[in-house]
Amino acid sequence: MIGWLKSIGRWIDVRIGFSETLLPMMRHPIPRAVDGPMGWWYVFGSASLTFLMLQIVTGIGLSLVYVPSAEEAYDTLLYLDYQHPFGWFLRALHYYAGSGMVVMVLVHMTQVFIHGAYKYPRELTWLVGVGLFACTLGMFFSGQILRWDPDAYWGLAVAGSMAGRVPGIGPQVVELLLGGPIIGAGSLSRFYALHVFVIPGALLTLVGLHLWLVLKCGISAPPVAGEPVNPATYDAAYHEELKRGVPFLGDAIMKDICFSALAVIVVVCVAAIMGPKGPSGPPDPIVSGANPRPEWPFLWIFALLALSPPSIETFIMLVLPVIVIVALMLVPLVSNRGERAPSKRPVAVLLVIVVYTALGVLTYQGVVAPWSPVMDAWTGDPVPVNLVKRSTPRELQGALVFQYKNCRNCHALDGIGGRRGPDLTTIGTRLTRNKMIDQVSNGTPGGGNMPAFGKQMTPDEMAMVVDFMVSLRPERQPPAGAPRDLVASGEQ
């Protein structure tokens, strides 16, 4: 039986030439140091590839049931979640393996950057890798749209509004993106084509190129301080090193398999525990209380757009992504020689720390979103009783005005409520009555963060709400602007 199989194998091999071409490729020698503990730094690329293969399998599975029609997509998602055997699990796995792929690609890129592995002769490998990174993010965004819920609908709205800012041809770009005059069936079909045909086509082509380059240029040896890359001598030295190398298809690949297996186990467990993500509701554009949020890889842009001055926003939307991609592509073109060890490249290490800190802080801010008004705070969050215990009737009336005029949507009391404006729990100690009247009437000068309420309330309402705010201060503490001797006597 085995002999029979072997002869079939030989029959195929003679014709296809596997043992002449692919097998030697797989057995190509890699630097000996990779076989040691340092080899664990080399597992993130293969883990990304493992997740990609998982995405292809789960993606094909989902496409067997999912219908990319604006009318039916939502229903097929519910069917997958609740009725089709393991439909919920495939949806969950597709989401978390996709998230894992973004993480692995980021870690892989960071490792290559920190270890200077992009230097000669691997510049092109890095350039192709940047393309893979862009494709991965493109897959994440287009995939979110296929989850045809309010976040998808409003995500398209945000993408359309950004595209609408392109100078000159904005309207044409919007139409190209949305596939029609309104967000709907045309938009979903477009993003389905992007997610299933266009981006995967580019992604797989680039993966092939990336792997070919990895084979052609070889894996970089772990960096050693004091051994700078010199393009003139590198090839000969690397060739020498490979003579003492170990085959890739051997112990070296075991670390890759081991790590990939662990990564898959983690993702499968997370998917099984967390379940599928959404859909959060039907994509009904007129349902009130929509609170659109981008997916996690884009939360930092969401935050950046909320925190940056309006004058540079169009720049951030349209030019910054290009700058980021171009800057990443320039990395190996600017420095393709010299030291590789992180200990000798403090600027590179610092850059990684600064970039990840910035991304982390912005992402955190994107989760908290303190700039978003809390739309139901004015009815949902009562004025804390301890703030109005000793209030006069006018101050109490002012508290009512404060709630009724939706001030609470942006201003917290005792930490509860909106956080777009400052918490006003102790505003009485910070602003004088006149300053308050000015602030409430005129808002932030030039239409900054606070609207002018001068015409939004009667003079009496204004007087009462200011009375209430003056009373917002700790017991025995005088209002802001009180004369100094009064302060002194008040404290005795």
Partner: protein, 184 residues
């Protein structure tokens, strides 16, 4: 051999001319093929064209009380039959009273999409403000920008009074360079 080679010389000069000719023909055929296949494909991808103008009924004029803002929803006629509920569209209609010389009701019809990034704004009649849930853009009741990141006020829909009903032009998705006025 010698005689052959000398005889072949003029022949050798002729061959490139013939080859060159066929190279040109092949190149031209390729270009024509690419154009013939490509032009309709590109036209298919980008040539969506201007949407038609449809008028949508908002309701009886008398149903809109003066100086009040109402959220009106309708099925957008710019839809495709297979759009599902995504073609449902909302606008804010405000009756500005009969201040104009003609004595006819003046209306203000605002798209729900924030001028910043298109998120849906909510109307708060208590404070007379529209608020956006995304980045906190705020507008006054007349649609003008009050605060936050929006670069302009809310988009105005084109309206008309036909008999005793208020109608608006079916709004496309409005963006900064493609406001709803342009289709008028």
């Amino acid at each position: 051999m010698d005689t052959n080679s000398t005889a072949a010389t003029p022949e050798h000069e002729k061959t490139p001319a013939r080859r060159t000719f066929f190279r040109w023909i092949t190149g031209a055929a390729g270009a024509v093929a690419a154009a013939m296949a490509g032009v309709p494909i590109v036209g298919y991808l980008v040539g969506l064209g201007k949407p038609k103008v449809f008028w949508v009924t908002m309701g009886k004029v008398a149903d809109f009380p003066q100086y009040e803002t109402r959220h009106v929803t309708f099925d957008n006629p710019l839809r495709q039959p297979w759009d599902g509920i995504t073609s449902q569209t909302g606008v804010y209609v405000r009756n500005l009273g009969t201040d104009d010389p003609d004595g006819e009701a003046q209306f203000l019809v605002l798209a729900v999409n924030c001028a910043h990034l298109g998120c849906p704004v909510s109307w708060f009649p208590q404070s007379g403000l529209f608020m956006c849930p995304c980045h906190g853009g705020v507008y006054y009741s007349d649609g003008s920008r009050a605060s936050g990141p929006p670069p302009r006020g809310l988009y105005h829909c084109v309206w008309r009074v036909s008999g005793d009903t208020l109608e608006i032009q079916a709004p496309h998705y409005p963006t900064l360079q493609d406001t709803l006025k342009d289709t008028a």
